[in-house]
C-alpha cells in the first residue's frame, strides 16, 4: 500500500468521524437552499473538501519530519557545514 493510499484512507476515516459529529440531525428543510437535493450537494462537496484538508495535513506533517531527519543527517555528516540562511547576516554565532 502506498503512502498516498494510506493517507487517503486515514483522511476519509477522519472526515467520516467529523461528518458524523457535524450532522444536524434536527434539520427541517425549511427553504430551497435547505432542500433535500441541496443537502446532498453540501454533503458531497463538503466531504471532498474535508478529505483534502486532512490529506494535506498528513502530507505536510510527514514532510516536516522528513526535513528534520534530513537536517540531522546533514549535521552529522558535515558538522562544519553551515547552511546559508536567507535572513541571516552575521550577528548570530
Amino acid at each position: 500500500m502506498t503512502q498516498r493510499v494510506r493517507d487517503l484512507i486515514l483522511a476519509v476515516l477522519a472526515t467520516i468521524v467529523a461528518s458524523t459529529l457535524s450532522f444536524p440531525y434536527w434539520r427541517d428543510f425549511s427553504y430551497w437552499a435547505e432542500s433535500h437535493s441541496m443537502w446532498w450537494i453540501y454533503f458531497a462537496v463538503g466531504f471532498v473538501l474535508a478529505v483534502y484538508v486532512f490529506y494535506v495535513f498528513l502530507d505536510c506533517v510527514r514532510i516536516l519530519f522528513l526535513h528534520d531527519e534530513f537536517e540531522k543527517k546533514k549535521a552529522a555528516s558535515k558538522s562544519k557545514y553551515r547552511i546559508p540562511l536567507d535572513i541571516e547576516e552575521g550577528g548570530e554565532k
Partner: protein, 553 residues
C-alpha cells in the same frame, strides 16, 4: 547577536506601551472578576458592561501593540536594511496612545447610552462585543494599520527576494486592515450584523493573527535555534494554508444560531472540526525546530513564552475550541461560560504569550543585556500560565453547571437559579485572576528593569553537569514522547466533547440527570489542564538541562 539596525530600537517603546496596557487590562479584569462575585460592586460608577469592554478592548490593543513592536523589530532584520519612514512610526506610536485613551473614555459613555449617532453610524462607541470602538476609533485604527503595512512593505526588499516569512507578514499586515473594514458600518439586521461582526473577529483571530503568529514564531525559531530558513518557510506556508483551509469555512461555527439558515451548522461543524490541524502542525514544527540541534536555551524566558503560546494555542484554541464547535455541542455551550474558558486560554495563551515571548527576545538585545537573570521571567511565565489555566478551569466548570441549570432546566438568571448555582466557581475567577495579576507584575518589573538595574546576572548554575541527564524528568525529549503527551491532551479533549454531547441524551435532557456531563467535565477539564502543565514543565525541563558544547558547536 547585537542590534544591527538602529530603527529596530523603535520597537522598544511599543513593548513598554504593551506592558502598560497589559497592566490596565488586568486591573479591569480584576474588577470584572470581582463583579462576577458581587454584582453590586461599583454599580453606577463602573458598570460591568463598561469594565468588561475595557478589559476586552485593552486585551486586543496590547496584543496588537506587541505585534507592532515585534514587526518593527523583525522587519529590518528580515529586510537587511533600516525601516523606511521611521517618522511614520513615531506618528503611529502617539496615535496609538491617543486612540487607546479615547477608546477607554468613550466606552464609559455606554452608561449614559451615548453612542454618538451621526449619519447612521455610532461614532463614540457601538456596543458590539469585541468591536465596541466607535467610528472615530475605527478610522484612526484603520489609518494605523495602513501606516504599519506601508512602512513594512516599503522596508521589505523587492518581492523576488521574499521567502515565506516575508509573505506571511506582508499578507498578515495588509489583511489586518482589510478585515477591519467589515466592522466599519452599521447594520440594522441583527443576523447580518452578527454575520459581519464575526468576519472581523473570526478572520482577524483565526485568519490574520494566526498568520502573523506563524510567521513570527517561524522567524524567532530561525533566530533562536539556527533552524534552516527553508524548512521554516515550508512550515510557515503550510501552516498558513491549513489555517485558511480549515478556518475559512470554519467561520461558519459562528453562524449556527444567529438567524442564518441551518446549512451553516453542517459546514461550520465539519470544517471547524479540522481547525486544530494547523495548530497540531505548528506544535510539531516548534518541537522539531527546538530539537534539531541540541543547543542550550540562551534566552529561556523568550522560549518559555513561545512554548506557552504554541501549547496553549493547541489546548485553548485547538482542543477547547474543538469541544464546543459542533452544532450538537454548541447548542448547549453557546452563550455560557464555556466560551470564556476557551477565549481566555486561546487569546491570551496564543497571542499574548507570543508577543511577551517576542518582547523577552527583543528587550535584552535592545538594551545590550546578554547575561540577564532569567529567573524572574520564568517565574512570571509560570504564574501567568497557571493563573490563566485556573481561570479557564473555573469558567469551564461553571459553564458546565450553567449549561445544565440554564439550558437543560431552563431556569432563570439573576434572582433565579443560574446565578447562585455558579457561586462556587465565580470565586475562582478573581482568585486565579489574582495569580495572573501577580505574574503580570513580575513580568512588567522584569522587562522594565532588564539590563538597567545594576547588572542582575544569571546565577552560575550552568555547566555543573557534563552532559544532559539521560534519565529522569529532564532527560532528552523524544518525538515519540511528545506525541504521547499530545495524544493524552486530545483524549481529555474528547472526554470533554462527549461530556457536552451527553447533554443531548434523554437521560439528561428529559429526566434532568446531570451525572454523565458533570462526571465527564470533572475528569476532562482538570485532566486536560494538568497534562498541559506537566507537558510544558517536561518540555522546558528537558531544554533547560541542555548544556553547552554538546553537538552543535
Amino acid at each position: 547577536m547585537k542590534i544591527e539596525y538602529q530603527t529596530q530600537r523603535l520597537s522598544m517603546r511599543f513593548f513598554m506601551l504593551m506592558l502598560f496596557l497589559f497592566v490596565l487590562q488586568i486591573i479591569f479584569g480584576m474588577i470584572v472578576g470581582l463583579q462576577q462575585v458581587d454584582p453590586n460592586l461599583l454599580v453606577g460608577k463602573l458598570n460591568f458592561n463598561v469594565a468588561r469592554t475595557e478589559h476586552i478592548n485593552l486585551g486586543l490593543l496590547w496584543i496588537l501593540t506587541g505585534f507592532i513592536g515585534t514587526i518593527l523589530f523583525v522587519g529590518p532584520a528580515l529586510s537587511r536594511r533600516e525601516l523606511a519612514h521611521p517618522w511614520l512610526i513615531h506618528v503611529l506610536f502617539y496615535a496609538l496612545i491617543a486612540a487607546v485613551l479615547w477608546n477607554v473614555y468613550a466606552q464609559g459613555l455606554a452608561m449614559k447610552g451615548v453612542a454618538g449617532w451621526w449619519g447612521g453610524q455610532a461614532w463614540f462607541q457601538e456596543g458590539l462585543e469585541y468591536i465596541e470602538g466607535g467610528r472615530i476609533f475605527d478610522i484612526v485604527a484603520l489609518i494605523g494599520f495602513g501606516i504599519l503595512g506601508f512602512v513594512l512593505l516599503r522596508t521589505f526588499p523587492s518581492m523576488k527576494e521574499w521567502n515565506e516569512i516575508h509573505w506571511g507578514l506582508a499578507i498578515g499586515v495588509v489583511a489586518l486592515a482589510v478585515v477591519w473594514l467589515f466592522g466599519l458600518f452599521y447594520v440594522s439586521r441583527l443576523d447580518l450584523q452578527e454575520y459581519f461582526r464575526w468576519f472581523v473577529v473570526h478572520y482577524w483571530v483565526e485568519g490574520v493573527w494566526e498568520v502573523i503568529h506563524i510567521s513570527l514564531i517561524g522567524f524567532l525559531l530561525v533566530k533562536m535555534f539556527d533552524a534552516d530558513v527553508k524548512s521554516v518557510g515550508y512550515a510557515v506556508f503550510w501552516g498558513v494554508i491549513l489555517v485558511w483551509l480549515s478556518g475559512l469555512i470554519g467561520n461558519a461555527h459562528h453562524y449556527f444560531w444567529i438567524g442564518t439558515p441551518e446549512f451553516w451548522q453542517f459546514w461550520g461543524s465539519l470544517f471547524s472540526a479540522f481547525e486544530p490541524l494547523p495548530l497540531i502542525f505548528c506544535f510539531w514544527h516548534i518541537y522539531l525546530d527546538a530539537h534539531q540541534n541540541n543547543k542550550p536555551l540562551k534566552n529561556a524566558p523568550a522560549f518559555y513564552f513561545m512554548v506557552g503560546s504554541v501549547v496553549l494555542e493547541q489546548v485553548g484554541a485547538g482542543i477547547l475550541g474543538f469541544t464546543m464547535t459542533f452544532a450538537l455541542t454548541n447548542v448547549w455551550s453557546h452563550g455560557t461560560w464555556i466560551t470564556p474558558a476557551h477565549g481566555h486560554l486561546a487569546l491570551f495563551g496564543t497571542f499574548g504569550m507570543l508577543v511577551i515571548g517576542a518582547a523577552y527576545y527583543a528587550v535584552p538585545l535592545l538594551r545590550g543585556a546578554t547575561d540577564f537573570d532569567q529567573r524572574l521571567g520564568k517565574l512570571a511565565f509560570w504564574l501567568l500560565f497557571l493563573g490563566i489555566s485556573g481561570m479557564a478551569l473555573a469558567f469551564a466548570w461553571g459553564g458546565t453547571v450553567q449549561m445544565y441549570v440554564y439550558r437543560t432546566l431552563g431556569l432563570e438568571w439573576f434572582g433565579g437559579d443560574v446565578f447562585p448555582a455558579l457561586d462556587a466557581y465565580k470565586i475562582f475567577v478573581p482568585l486565579f485572576g489574582f495569580v495572573t495579576a501577580i505574574g503580570c507584575g513580575v513580568l512588567v518589573y522584569d522587562l522594565v528593569t532588564i539590563g538597567r538595574i545594576g547588572g542582575r546576572k544569571q546565577p552560575e548554575i550552568v555547566n555543573r553537569r557534563k552532559a544532559q541527564p539521560t534519565r529522569g524528568w529532564s532527560r532528552p525529549f523524544s518525538g515519540f514522547e511528545a506525541g504521547i503527551w499530545l495524544v493524552l491532551m486530545w483524549i481529555f479533549g474528547f472526554v470533554i466533547t462527549f461530556g457536552i454531547l451527553s447533554f443531548n441524551l434523554s437521560q439528561v435532557r428529559i429526566e434532568g440527570n446531570p451525572t454523565v456531563p458533570y462526571t465527564m467535565a470533572a475528569i476532562g477539564y482538570p485532566g486536560l489542564l494538568l497534562v498541559t502543565a506537566l507537558f510544558v514543565w517536561r518540555f522546558l525541563a528537558s531544554l533547560e538541562s541542555r548544556i553547552e558544547n554538546t553537538e552543535s558547536k
